[in-house]
């Protein structure tokens, strides 16, 4: 720094002047010495006060200059833009699922998530059941399927409940109005949610054609509205998602805030910082990044970014490894269950007929019209029989649900299928995903099926999941060796243990540190500028005047 600035010169002058200012005299009486001291001290104090004013003005002026430089550097918060882009991706994600031939209409229209949300092994309130019913009716209405009480005659209990529900569905007090009906039903039919659930499934089968036609209409409409070509949607989605992720990864606003909020220590990231040197050296073969030629450094940087993307996918792979193992086991046993699904369906059809017959008998016994005699005893007995029949059906539908994944495996997988094929096949069976996720995450209090399914989707449709597409699902493979070997060949010193399930987080931490620096360097705000801003922000602020500048004397 140039020491010859006016301010520095003034500091030196002041220091010398104050230090050398004579406050005492050696001659004279005590009184004279005291008087001299008082006068000298007064005079020096006046001088200091004058200098203080001047230096406060300097302080403000320097602060103003610093502030104006920081203001020019501060990056814009682009969160809203990213949010909009994420929303666009959400739309594309629903289109992807909507256009996929692997999913059935129930899944595509959102019926599956509604029906599975009222499983009786979940804690479901009456209000939640009513909300599901409202949403179910609304989707049906969109598909031009107007449901009436005749569609809810699966059992006498559902019919009684739905009569009140349909009469009051638009009432705000619906939950209170229907509570009494529910209580009356509940004592006769404790598994009432099971009845409702099976009735909804019955409706889906009854109007299958209408729903399929609605999906076709909606697909055409969506393609026109979103200007989307069905064949290109996947590649467009992958491209858009990757570029958005990279854009966010480079965003200087987020990086700067991580430093300002002390989530990351900027001193570790600066050139020459021991942590930075150690981390950059970690994946070089001779342990010295600085010794690499600029071309080698560029290659190293590119591969570190790719490796970072792969690590994120690998971490998710480990999270969902239980699905892979289960699917492999199921694939090996696929021949054992050939035709089982169709057989189960036939069995269900028979039992459904019995249920329907039981209900007809009940209507007669309960007095189906004017002047018809009511056989109370018989109708009570038929209610009990209906409960038994529905419990049986419930069991059969569960077995059918479990068999669905076997059908998907038989249809979609071969000996040469990739890991991606295997995982996508699992995703096609909503009942399978529901069961396996609920079982696996049963100990996790924060588990939410819909959230987990969304995360699973993000994993499957991750543009960086190249190894999932390349690795054969049914071949003998060790995923940590596959990944480590690939990056060793590409010039990174990665060992198999670096990507082990238990150690992957530590590796991700180091790799993320390096990519953070690389992304900052590729962005619009340098690390040095971020360091400058963070040091400025650590200064106690000086209030600005109304014009936005500091009132400098």
């Amino acid at each position: 720094m140039n020491n010859e600035t006016v301010i520095k010169k003034n500091i030196q002058i002041n220091e010398t002047h104050i230090r050398d200012f004579p406050l005492t005299i050696s001659n004279g009486t005590k009184r004279m010495k005291e008087k001299f001291y008082r006068n000298a001290a007064n005079e020096r104090n006046k001088y200091i006060e004058k200098e203080k004013k001047k230096f406060h003005a300097y302080q403000k002026r320097i602060y103003y200059e610093l502030n104006s430089r920081v203001e020019k550097l501060l990056p814009i918060d682009q969160s809203d833009h990213y949010q909009e882009e994420k929303e666009r991706l959400r739309v594309m994600e629903s289109l992807l699922q909507f256009f996929s031939s692997s999913f059935n209409s129930s899944y595509k229209l959102g019926f599956s998530s509604l029906i599975y949300s009222i499983r009786e092994d979940h804690d479901v309130s009456l209000a939640e059941i009513n909300s599901v019913l409202k949403q179910f009716l609304s989707i049906c209405q969109s598909a031009s399927v107007v449901l009436t009480i005749h569609d809810f005659s699966y059992s006498m209990f559902v019919e009684k409940y739905m009569t009140v529900f349909l009469q009051n569905q638009s009432e705000e007090q619906l939950n209170d109005l229907i509570k009494q009906t529910f209580e009356e039903i509940y004592w006769e039919c404790p598994e009432f949610t099971r009845h409702i659930r099976l009735n909804l499934l019955f409706i889906l089968r009854k109007y299958q054609k209408e729903f399929d036609l609605y999906i076709e209409r909606k697909k055409k409409q969506m393609m026109i509205e979103q200007h989307i070509d069905q064949d290109k949607i996947l590649s467009e989605y992958m491209q858009k998602r990757k570029s958005l992720l990279k854009e966010i990864a480079k965003d200087p606003f987020y990086h700067l805030n991580n430093f300002l909020d002390k989530k990351k220590n900027i001193l570790d990231y600066l050139n020459g910082a021991p942590t930075r040197i150690k981390n950059f050296n970690q994946f070089t073969f001779d342990g010295n990044y600085d010794q690499l030629s600029s071309l080698e450094q560029k290659k190293y940087q590119d591969e570190i970014v790719n490796f970072s993307d792969t690590l994120q996918v690998l971490k998710e792979y480990y999270r969902y490894e239980f699905v892979i193992l289960d699917m492999i086991e199921k694939f090996r046993k696929k021949d054992e269950s050939k035709g089982a699904y169709e057989q189960k369906l036939k069995e269900i059809q028979k039992v459904e007929k019995k249920r329907s017959k039981l209900y007809q008998e009940y209507r007669k016994a309960a007095g189906g019209g004017f002047f018809k005699k009511v056989h109370k005893e018989k109708s009570e007995s038929l209610k009990l029989q209906m409960n038994t029949q529905i419990n049986h059906l419930h069991q059969l539908y569960q077995e059918l649900d479990d068999l669905e994944i076997m059908v998907k495996i038989q249809e979609q997988l071969t000996d040469s299928s990739s890991l991606e094929d295997l995982l996508l096949t699992s995703f096609c069976s909503y009942p399978y995903m529901n069961r396996i996720f609920n079982e696996h995450f049963s100990e996790d209090d924060t588990f939410s099926f819909s959230r987990e399914l969304e995360r699973y989707f993000q994993f499957l449709y991750n543009p960086d999941n190249v190894f999932l597409r390349r690795v054969h699902a049914f071949a003998e493979y060790d995923i940590s060796s596959v990944v480590a070997e690939k990056y060793r060949l590409l010039g990174l010193n990665i060992s198999k243990t670096d990507v082990f399930k238990d150690l992957i987080d530590t590796t991700i931490e180091v790799v993320s540190f390096i990519t953070c620096i690389l992304f900052i360097e590729a962005g619009s705000l340098s690390l040095d500028d971020m360091y400058f801003i963070s040091r400025f922000k650590a200064i106690e602020p000086i209030p600005m005047d109304d014009e936005g500048s500091i009132d400098v004397i």
């Binding site: 720094m1 140039n2 600035t5 006016v6 301010i7 520095k8 500091i11 002041n14 220091e15 104050i18 406050l23 008082r38 001290a41 007064n42 020096r44 104090n45 200091i48 006060e49 200098e51 203080k52 230096f55 406060h56 003005a57 300097y58 302080q59 002026r61 320097i62 602060y63 200059e65 610093l66 430089r69 040095d528 500028d529 400058f532 040091r535 400025f536 200064i539 400098v552 004397i553």
Partner: protein, 46 residues
């Protein structure tokens, strides 16, 4: 304020400017610490 001071500030790089700010703060502390409190000196004498 002296235009020379302002010109000098503008010509400094960010690190130099931050350092100068720190020097000014330090100097303000120095000035404060050198003020003699004559009243309390007088009371002490009494």
């Amino acid at each position: 304020m002296d235009s020379q001071v302002i010109n000098e500030l503008v010509s400094l790089n960010n690190n130099q400017l931050l350092q100068l700010y720190a020097d000014v703060l330090k100097h303000l502390d120095f000035l404060d610490s050198n003020i003699i409190d004559l009243e309390s000196d007088g009371q002490n004498d009494e």
